[in-house]
């Protein structure tokens, strides 16, 4: 290695920052759409950490896990957005705190 490559811990730092920002967004937003977006950011940050680790060792495993994360994200978004539609239909709002009771 020639030492001019990208340092691993810088990538991981970016990943941590993205994760923290996503988490912050998750906690401060009340709109369900933004919450889903924050989840995407967090998943993406985790994926970045995996890919970086895989690249560090020169192995494909990181990218395999990235694909699995992608799958999870896709499934989650599909179901989550379906739920958003239902919430909007029933409560006429997207505020999480208004939809805090079970059985609608």
């Amino acid at each position: 290695m020639d030492g001019l490559n990208i340092p691993l811990n810088h990538i991981l730092l970016v990943s941590s920052l993205l994760f923290s920002i996503g988490m912050l967004g998750l906690m401060i937003r009340r709109n369900i759409i933004f919450i889903l977006m924050s989840l995407e950011v967090m998943l993406n940050a985790a994926a970045l950490a995996f890919v970086a680790a895989g690249a560090h060792w020169g192995q494909p495993d990181g990218q395999v896990v990235f694909m699995l994360i992608l799958t999870v994200a896709a499934a989650e978004v599909a179901v989550g957005l379906g739920l958003v539609l239902q919430v909007q239909k029933r409560f006429k709002t997207l505020d999480m705190d208004r939809a805090n009771r079970m059985q609608g």
């Binding site: 340092p7 941590s16 920002i21 933004f34 690249a55 896709a74 599909a78 379906g82 909007q88």
Partner: protein
Amino acid sequence: MLEIVLFYIAATVALVATVMAMTRANAIHALIYLIVSLLAVAVIFFLIGAPFAAALEIVIYAGAIMVLFVFVIMMLNLGEKGDKQERQWLQPSIWAGPAILSIVLLIELVMVISQTSGPVSVTAVSAKEVGLSLFGPYVLAVEIASMLLLAGLVGSFHLGRRYLDRDNLEKKGGQ
């Protein structure tokens, strides 16, 4: 050298775009910032030798998933009133506590990360290698992922049916 510069630019773009996405009141604006952030992450993937991952990031994340968001936002038709309310919800008193928690977590993560060192590999891990390990040692994970996708498909289909509201449910239950 160029790689490193590009990396820092991409990282900066990703972080700024994410922050903007998290703080926008308008959902479409936030979504566009989010797409920018994802594209920047895709650049990082490419730079650290994961071209296949970068491509997937663009195609599936920035493409398919974000388009799904756009469709939903369009269907909801939020408008100006929603924006005003979003701004109202973004008061410092609301985000102060979570911000502290996030910063604490970040500090911890940084402390853990700072113990690792070393660069990432220059040699790219090609799509072929990824494909081989996917259908080699990780084949079970692929199966699970497919099940998950199927579940997501069924779930979203069920939730997305327009006629599925309470009245219809009761009618169906009564029959």
